[in-house]
């Protein structure tokens, strides 16, 4: 059994760990002086050597992303932290910001120093005011302690950090839409190229990184490449804050090396809750990645193995569904989410999600047809690769994956309402609250 490896989460049981004092007591801000004594380029090189991959979902190598920023171009550079965690099933960045805001800030300072940014924006999802307050107060603490501001620890390096609240749009997790939103515009993705590395915030070189990615940085600087690479696999090095949710007995955060299997995580999470005690299907990391079944429980949770299994690691926040759950209903709810969150910019996503939800609604009421199944397949194919950004692609993934494993449920939904086959009450997690 792969052991858990608490790093970012190691001291989450310390009641005041979220304060500057608590964080410092547990070796916090020890990487900072070390980093400030280094040449920025060597920090970039170090991060590159660790092979750290972006934890926001796409898994793009972080050091490589940093190296795309043109240096000594005379322009202001920006680091933007993407804390707009909004995907159904994803719940790891908000806990990190709540429990460990200073690790994020230490990572912010080091990363900004590395890419020669003097102003960092932390764009936090608007629906989590508690996280916004917590990060904002951590920034204040750090400012008062001289960790953020002018001439940080006598290094001559200056940095401002601005905490910005989103206004409730999933699309603003897409990095260019986030930048537009941050600039005060309507959040819609930008045409690429040019990419943010050269024309990002205010058309200046910008790195956009996920919260967890940045929170990794202090430990990398402290412990080095070798230490980091002892975790995980060659192509997916390091550890990961896995947030396991759904029908499990102990939902929560489990920090483990990449490459751990879902079966192992399930064990840590106390096994499947409810139903017949088995996994019916699960998603590795948010609704945007295709579902897997119990057959895939031993597939390592790495970027490469997940891709091989026809899905993606995504945000690394597995969601488990037991035997009481209707696949038709789950897919319908996901699509309703995408329809609601489609920004409207491009035709396939805007109109496609509108259409698909209409058809799925018929299936949910037992009124789907055989041609409708082909129609949904066509519609998903017409969205995939044709929409402006990944939101459209994500919206087109749940249905084909569901059809791959659970075609029979859609067939049943051509004559029987889903609520009859899979009564909702059977799925309630908190039976004491369920209507009897």
């Amino acid at each position: 059994m792969t052991p858990l490896t608490p790093v970012i989460t190691a001291h989450w049981d310390v009641p005041d760990y979220f304060t500057l004092e608590g964080y410092k007591r547990h070796d916090g801000y020890r990487a900072l002086p070390k980093a400030l004594a280094m040449d920025p380029d060597s920090i970039i090189a170090q991060v590159k050597d660790t092979g750290l991959r972006g934890r926001g979902g796409a898994g793009f190598p972080t050091g490589l992303k940093w190296s795309f920023v043109p240096q000594n171009d005379g322009k202001p550079h920006y680091l933007v932290v993407n804390a707009d965690e909004s995907e159904p099933g994803a719940c790891k960045d908000v806990p990190i910001m709540m429990a460990n805001p200073h690790a994020l800030l230490e990572g912010v300072i080091i990363s900004s120093y590395a890419i020669r940014a003097h102003h960092t924006f932390i764009y936090i999802r608007g629906e989590v005011p508690q996280a916004i307050r917590r990060v904002a107060s951590a920034v204040r603490e750090a400012e008062q302690a001289g960790l953020i501001g002018d001439n940080i620890q006598g290094s001559g390096y200056n940095l401002r950090v601005t905490v910005h609240s989103g206004a409730g749009a999933y699309i603003c997790g897409e990095e260019t839409a986030l930048l537009d939103s941050l600039e005060g515009r309507r959040g819609q993705p930008r045409l690429k190229p040019p990419f943010p590395a050269t024309h990002g915030l205010y058309a200046d070189p910008t790195v956009v990184n996920n919260v967890e990615t940045i929170a990794n940085i202090p430990w990398i600087v402290n412990n080095g490449v070798e230490w980091f690479r002892q975790f995980g696999t060659e192509k997916s090095p390091g550890f990961k804050v896995f947030a396991v949710s759904g029908h499990v007995n102990r939902p929560g955060i489990y920090e483990a090396p990449l490459g751990i299997t879902m079966r192992e995580l399930l064990d840590y999470a106390g096994g499947v809750r409810g139903g017949d005690g088995t996994v019916k299907f699960w998603i590795p990391g948010g609704s945007s990645v295709p579902m897997l079944t119990a057959d895939h429980l031993d597939t390592p949770l790495t970027y490469e193995a997940m891709a091989e299994a026809g899905t993606m690691l995504g945000t690394g926040t597995p969601m488990v569904f037991n035997s009481t759950i209707s696949v038709v209903k789950a897919v319908t709810r996901w699509l309703e989410f995408y329809k609601h969150e489609s920004c409207g910019k491009c035709t396939p996503c805007r109109e496609g999600t509108y259409w698909i939800t209409g058809v799925l609604d018929r299936f949910e009421h037992g009124a789907g047809t055989d041609p409708d199944m082909k129609l949904l397949e066509d519609l998903c194919a017409n969205i995939t690769g044709r929409s402006f950004c990944a939101l459209g692609d994500a919206a087109a993934t749940p249905y084909p994956a569901a059809m791959k494993y659970f075609r029979d449920e859609f067939e049943a939904a051509t004559h029987t309402p889903v609520d009859e086959t899979y009564p909702s009450a059977a799925s309630y997690l908190f039976t004491e609250l369920a209507p009897r």
Partner: protein
């Protein structure tokens, strides 16, 4: 002549070789795939793409296949790279399927109301649905609906359910006009075009959004439900509203103008025009003079053409050598030329002037020296490439709106710097990111001299010395002594190109045609014997037939009539016994009172007019003439570019001024020719442009504006684009989009006038007053701005014009 070679050096461009549908082509590097395909004659369907707007790749209609890329790519946003292998829907199943899929999506929520939609029959969505769409719909769900239409302005109506969210209109508003009050709102399938609460789409260019809308989502109050496209007969025309020179398309339905569109002319208006040019055409219908009229027993009565021609010819012949001709600025160049020729041959006089506005001798000399009969230039293309443009006495958005668009394009595309000598920091200056030189009205000459030799002018002077710099001056400067002399001197000192921008469409053409006291056609001076001989040769007469003494300007003619009435004997200058007046409005004259009296007092008055007006009601003979839409002709725009057009209303029997003059001349037995547009144009084109000796530039010393006494201010004023001009009559929706009529002054001026807390101010002269709401804005201290001719603010009527000193009093709040 319009194709005169342009002085830009052609830079070699880097090219790349690409293959489209198996055909190899070499094209400039960086070109968009969709443009490459267009050049090859391969049409890729599209909605959001527009060549003059930044790519957005939102509609996804133009998806094509590029070898090596797994997914189809938008042709409107991808630039070509060397060796790229592109397959459009013609050769790629992937591209074809992708386009069909997008088309199916686009039609989901689109209502099937083509039979009642204005766009039906000329609709890109309809057309492409026919070629790319599925024969049967698979969509069984409920369509999204919105209440409709909503007004985004008084003129522009929006049917949201027809919208395909291509964002052409919003991008036009933001990128081209710079009026970003039209925006996309909401998200997903609820995304819609909209405006802010109580903030209508306020733009002089709003009509363009209708024209570029690829569906019927945007319509105009004027045209909505008025016609089917296939009932329209379309004619390429030129705009008669200002000197910008827009190419238009005029659509006529059974003899009535129903719609006007901007027509594509990349050298001039590109694809755009202003709302006045688009919507102001209903004046052609009402108040027309329909038959010749002759005065009998003090009253005008209907007369036959022969009777009217006889009467006019008799009266004018009796006044030969003692007649004046006032043509106004609205005539086509051919008609203006006809008046210039008629004055010299039939009336034996040089007393002809097209300027029914503030003018003067300095201006006449300036025009003779710098403008009349010259070749094309500076041009729009010069503005496109200029490093710096200096504006003086010219508010581009109001007075020549296409110049504004072109300047803004250059500002956006290559960082053109605009500097403006102006009494007001206007909205257009802000949109051009212009540096504002606050200048009291009347101090322009001083300000221009400051650039040449003043301490603050060094930066502008250096800027103007850069190759390609342009100075644009407005006709207002004619009223500022020394300003035109200073502008000419500045151009001379720096090498900058100097452009004179008159407001009316016919002014430059009339100038080139010789409708000025000192000029014959082509900028030839009446005092130049050789020049007279050249003109006489074209006219087929002996050169001594042409009068050789410089004639009198419009205000001198008006003054002469009044003094003639007072004194019986004429000494040096002959008395004015007859007037021939073309289509002008007396109230446009800065000396309208004296003009009216002159019309009352002149012994014989002939009016050639499209509409009944103050001239026709005083005339002895009135001839009905054709409006622009009813005749062929041409205008010369501010660049000197000839904009010829044919008749849009071919059913009309109206006669153009030139032909009427020919008929009068015929009765007078004066050799004039047939006066048809083709022969007039041929003669004029042989006379202009010319390379004859020009007059020297004027050298009038500049003087400072007067310092107003306490309680008085200097008046800055010009005509707003949309105001109570005669040619805008009959279109209330257009009038409702006019900018507010208000008096604007700086906080400091308001304080010193003691009106800072007033809700309204009254501007008064000895002849009357106007009361307007007060607004505080960026106006040169000591000055107040108000519109010259807006509803409730006819400043000429109280004898006030640009640079006048007016008394300012506050009204209670």
């Amino acid at each position: 002549m319009t194709l005169a070679p342009h002085q830009t050096s052609v830079q070699p461009v880097d090219t790349v070789t690409v293959s489209v549908d198996g055909i190899e082509v070499r094209v400039p590097k960086g070109m968009l795939i969709i443009r490459v395909a267009e050049l090859m004659g391969i049409e890729i369907p599209r909605f959001c793409d527009h060549p003059l707007l930044d790519p957005v790749a939102a509609c996804r209609m133009c998806l094509i296949e590029i070898d090596g890329q797994g997914q189809p790519q938008p042709a409107c946003a991808q630039t070509v790279t060397d060796g790229m292998v592109i397959k459009t829907q013609r050769t790629s199943e992937l591209a074809k399927e992708a386009q069909e899929g997008v088309m199916e999506f686009l039609l989901l929520n689109h209502p099937l109301d083509c039979p009642v939609c204005d766009k039906g029959g000329e609709c890109p969505l309809q057309n492409q649905a026919m070629t790319v769409g599925r024969p049967e719909a698979r969509f069984d769900e409920k369509r999204r609906t919105f209440p409709k239409p909503i007004n985004v302005s008084a003129q522009i109506l929006l049917d949201r359910e027809r919208c395909v969210s291509c964002a052409r209109c919003t991008r036009f508003a933001d990128q081209i006009a710079g009026d970003p009050m039209l925006e996309l709102l909401e998200r997903g399938a609820q995304q819609q075009v909209g405006i802010g609460p109580d903030a209508p789409f306020d733009s002089y260019y709003s009509g363009n959004t209708i024209q570029i809308c690829p569906v019927g989502a945007l319509t105009s109050s004027l045209y909505r439900f008025r016609s089917r496209p296939f009932d329209l007969v379309s004619t390429p025309t030129a705009c008669e509203h200002c000197a910008s020179g827009c190419a238009l398309r005029t659509d006529v339905r059974r003899g009535v103008i129903t719609r006007r569109l901007a027509w594509d002319d990349p050298e001039v208006n590109e694809d755009w025009n202003c709302d006045k040019g688009r919507f102001a055409f209903l004046y052609t219908a009402d108040g027309r003079v329909e038959t010749p009229l002759v005065r009998e027993d003090g009253r005008l009565r209907v007369a036959s053409w022969p009777e009217a021609l006889d009467t006019a010819a008799h009266g004018l012949a009796a006044a030969r050598g003692r007649a004046g001709v006032l043509t106004g600025g609205r005539l086509t160049r051919e008609d203006a030329y006809a008046y210039a020729k008629f004055a010299r041959l039939a009336l034996g006089t040089n007393d002809i002037d097209f300027r029914n506005r503030v003018s003067g001798d300095e201006e006449a000399q300036f025009l003779a020296s710098m403008v009349a009969g010259r070749r094309l230039g500076p041009t729009y293309s010069d503005l496109d490439h200029a490093p710096l443009v200096l504006l003086a006495g010219l508010e581009t958005e109001d007075e020549s709106p296409i110049i504004f668009l072109r300047l803004r394009k250059a500002v956006r595309s290559h960082g053109l710097r605009v500097q403006a000598i102006s009494a007001v920091r206007t909205r257009s200056l802000d949109k051009l990111q212009a540096s504002w030189w606050a200048c009291q009205p009347g101090n322009e000459a001083w300000a221009l001299r400051q650039i040449i030799d003043g301490p603050q002018g060094a930066d502008a002077l250096a800027g103007l010395r850069q190759p390609g710099a342009v100075i644009l001056i407005g006709e207002r400067l004619a009223g500022v002594p020394g300003a035109l002399s200073a502008a000419a001197a500045l151009a001379d000192a720096t090498g900058a190109k100097l452009g004179w921008v008159p407001r009316r469409a016919g002014e430059r053409g009339a100038l080139d045609a010789g409708a000025l006291p000192g000029l014959l056609p082509g900028g030839r001076q009446v005092t130049d014997e050789g020049a007279r001989a050249q003109v006489a040769a074209v006219w087929g007469v002996r050169s001594d037939v042409l009068p050789s003494r410089i004639g009198r300007s419009s205000s001198q003619v008006i003054a002469a009539i009044r003094s003639d009435a007072a004194r019986a004997d004429a000494d040096s200058e002959p008395a004015v016994q007859a007037l021939l007046v073309a289509g002008l409005d007396v109230e446009d004259s800065p000396e309208a009172g004296a003009f009216r009296q002159a019309l009352d007092e002149v012994p014989f008055l002939v009016a050639v007019s499209t509409h009944h007006n103050e001239v026709t009601e005083r005339a002895d003979v009135v001839f009905p003439s054709a409006v622009v839409a009813e005749k062929a002709g041409g205008f010369t725009d501010w660049e000197g570019r000839v904009r010829s057009f044919g008749p849009a209303i071919r059913e009309s029997s109206s006669v153009a001024d030139g032909r009427i003059l020919a008929m009068v001349a015929d009765v007078m037995e004066v050799p004039f020719g047939t006066g048809d547009v083709a022969s007039l144009r041929a003669e004029l084109d042989s006379l202009t442009p010319s390379t004859v000796t020009r007059a020297a530039a004027p050298q009038v010393a500049s003087s400072a504006a007067p310092t107003p006494e306490s309680g008085y201010a200097l008046l800055a004023t010009w005509r707003l684009l949309l105001d109570r001009g005669r040619l805008q009559e009959g279109e209330p929706h257009l009038a409702a989009t006019a900018r507010p009529t208000e008096a604007v002054m700086s906080r400091a001026t308001a304080n010193s006038l003691g009106v800072a807390n007033a809700a309204t101010v009254t501007l008064s002269t000895a002849r009357g007053s106007v009361t307007l709401p007060l607004a505080i804005g960026d106006v040169a201290d000591g000055a107040v701005w108000a519109p010259l001719n807006s509803e409730g603010c006819a400043l000429l009527g109280i004898g006030a014009t640009y640079g006048s000193v007016v008394r300012v009093t506050g009204g209670a709040r």
